[in-house]
């Protein structure tokens, strides 16, 4: 092999090297963000106390009364972990949905699933017994039921004509999403008191305040399975980016792939929205930023997007809890305020470099 081709090959291998670096850096950042998220808050806990509280919690001992063990182990640790899991999930779903409808502007909520989840949750708050804004298990179940119902509706619409074509999926998702949002807005107006309205709005804008150890299991399992299911289809996802005919010519069963992707992304979205409300912008921004760094190849992109999503949401939740004294911001507000300008800046810089 000549020196020239060896050099060319070295350049071509660069995305793989960058992906490994990105994964290592993001892994370290995730650990740091989790530690910071547990230490900082309405009352700061020294890292030493955090360590002893976590050690006691992991070994199953009861918290020491009069210390901050309870805050750390029952509130902050599950909340930080939930932020990481939801962020990872949103990064994954965003990546998959963008490939599914072959549009880099797609986000997890495009397919209408979150509208169903929101309607379920809001109905539970306004009409049900679990009122009061507590994001308890009853609320999660209602949200997940709503997600499944909207999934069934969108599925029925999208499969007509036999295609699951990108356009049909988007139109069905947007149409049914708007329809369900209409109901949600109606219910918000029917909310009995300010307390209820506040709870509803907080839910609609996304919140990780309901985190408990018990509510972690479902999203952890769903995100792990989702990652494996998507990685198994990474090559097919790549092919799908080039077009349905190209994918078919590469031996991909496009209709079946779309059906599988639709199920995976819908279930994952339903689970995520049911534990955290609809947190906007993460699913749109994370895949974009990650593609700029490691390229569009899904075998590299999916794990990196999951890691970046996790880091981002842990940090965002920390900001949401600590930015204003005595007041917690909805996570979705912070993601939009930080995320949108960041994305615009990155895209703009890219255009200036002539790579748009």
């Amino acid at each position: 092999m000549t020196a020239l081709t060896a050099a060319a090959e070295g350049r071509e291998r660069e995305p793989g090297v960058r992906a490994r670096w990105a994964a290592a850096v993001l892994g370290a950042a995730l650990v740091a963000a989790l530690v910071a998220s547990v230490c900082l808050g309405s009352s700061d806990v020294p890292p030493g106390d955090v360590w002893s509280a976590v050690a006691r919690g992991v070994s199953g001992q009861d918290p020491v009364p009069g210390t901050q063990d309870l805050i750390v182990w029952q509130l902050r640790v599950p909340r930080a972990l939930l932020a990481a899991v939801v962020g990872a999930g949103l990064g994954l779903v965003g990546t998959a949905v963008q490939a599914l409808v072959r549009n880099p502007l797609a986000d997890p909520y495009l397919l209408g699933i979150s509208s169903g989840a929101s309607l379920g949750a809001v109905a539970a708050i306004v009409l049900g017994a679990g009122a009061g804004g507590a994001l308890g298990l009853g609320l999660s179940s209602a949200a997940f039921a709503g997600a499944l119902a909207s999934f069934a509706l969108v599925w029925a619409m999208a499969r007509r004509g036999g295609g699951f074509s990108p356009l049909r999926l988007v139109l069905s998702g947007v149409g049914i999403g708007q329809f369900l949002s209409g109901f949600t807005h109606y219910l918000v107006l029917q909310a009995g008191d300010d307390q209820q309205t506040h709870g509803v709005l907080f839910w609609l804008m996304g919140s990780l305040g309901g985190a408990q150890w018990a509510t972690l299991t479902l999203p952890v399992v769903a995100v792990a399975l989702g990652l494996v299911a998507l990685l198994a289809r990474a090559r097919a996802l790549d092919a799908l980016l080039m077009g349905d005919e190209t994918a078919a010519g590469l031996g991909v069963d496009v209709v079946r792939l779309r059906r599988e992707l639709f199920v995976v992304t819908s279930v994952l979205t339903g689970v995520l929205v049911s534990v955290s409300g609809a947190i906007g912008f993460v699913g749109l921004m994370v895949p974009h930023v990650c593609r700029m760094v490691v390229g569009g190849d899904h075998r590299r992109l999916l794990p990196v997007a999951a890691l970046f999503g996790a880091v981002l949401l842990v940090v965002v939740d920390l900001v949401a809890r600590t930015a204003l004294p005595d007041q917690e911001l909805p996570v979705g507000v912070v993601t939009a305020l930080i995320g949108a300008p960041t994305l615009l800046y990155l895209l703009d810089r890219r255009l200036e470099r002539g790579q748009g």
Binding site: A8, E245, R299
Partner: protein, 291 residues
């Protein structure tokens, strides 16, 4: 490996688009599909690379009906270059070519040394060896087509299927791409808009008109003024190319053919339309490709 389409019917949302189509590319041949817009060229090709399902009839690759093969098995024999030109998802040129290995890889399998070599060879084969790290979406139209051809070559297929590969390319890039196809010496089935390109490249032509094959044979047999008037609705003379000796179609760009009357008159007239040199009839022979 020979590829043949037999008695193919395709219906799209209840409408018959293609019916009774019979065509073939013998082993090592380049067979062209020509016909006006909407005559069913793309539909036939889409059935060959299994994007569409035939309503009746079959597609044979070698001796095997592709419906008896899995999708991946078909993709290892037949590589397609559809008209899609990709979208902007930050894919590198190398990643696009590496997609050609998809039908050989199981879920979760990474890329091994052999894949990397095949991808590098395919890129070098289309003259894009140094471009692996570039972004696919920043390439020019001609470069894109060459990279997509490299992707098809990385599939290591027995048969290449291309749908209008020279569309939207300037003349030079058209010539370059067709030269690359000639060099491959591979069984190839392609549709072409440019009849002169088809006459020069193809060993065999199949003419599609309103979903049916109306003529098959060597370019010299098929490309007659009568057929051009009847199928394409144009007045044209067929002469010998002064440089290559290929059939050269000289179109009359001043007006379309007065189809029915003209065509009938010309089919019977051995001299052809006024202005056509009275070439002596030749025995049609398949051209030997010289690489």
């Amino acid at each position: 490996m020979r590829i043949a389409v037999e008695e193919l019917d395709v219906t799209l949302s209840g409408r018959t688009v293609v019916s009774g189509v019979h065509l073939v590319a013998e082993d090592g041949e380049i067979a062209g599909l020509i016909g006006p817009n909407g005559s069913g060229k793309s539909t036939v090709l889409r059935t060959v690379y299994r994007y569409l399902r035939p309503h009746a009839g079959r597609v044979l690759v070698g001796d095997a009906d592709i419906r008896s093969l899995t999708a991946a098995e078909t993709a290892r024999r037949v590589a397609a270059l559809p008209q899609e030109r990709g979208s902007d998802f930050e894919l590198s040129v190398r990643a696009v070519v590496a997609m050609g290995r998809t039908p050989y890889k199981r879920a979760f399998a990474g890329e091994d040394r052999a894949d990397a070599d095949i991808v590098a060879t395919a890129l070098a084969g289309v003259g894009m060896a140094g471009a692996g790290a570039r972004r696919f979406s920043t390439l020019s139209g001609g470069e894109r087509q060459r990279v997509l051809l490299a992707r098809a070559l990385a599939q290591d297929p027995k048969v290449l299927v291309l749908d209008e590969p020279t569309n939207h390319l300037d003349v030079r890039h058209q010539v370059e791409l067709l030269a690359l196809l000639r060099e491959q010496r591979r069984t190839t089935l392609l549709s072409l808009h440019d009849l002169n390109a088809a006459a020069s490249l193809c060993d065999r032509l199949h003419v599609l008109h309103e979903g049916a094959v109306v003529a098959s044979g060597t370019p010299r047999e098929v490309l007659t003024p009568a057929l051009l008037a009847e199928v394409f609705g144009v007045r044209a003379a067929v002469v010998e190319h002064p440089l290559t000796g290929d059939p050269l179609i000289a179109f009359d760009h001043r007006g379309v053919a007065d189809a029915a009357a003209d065509a009938g008159a010309r089919v019977g007239s051995p001299a052809g339309p006024p202005g056509e040199p009275a070439a002596p009839p030749r025995t049609p022979v398949l051209k030997r490709r010289t690489g």
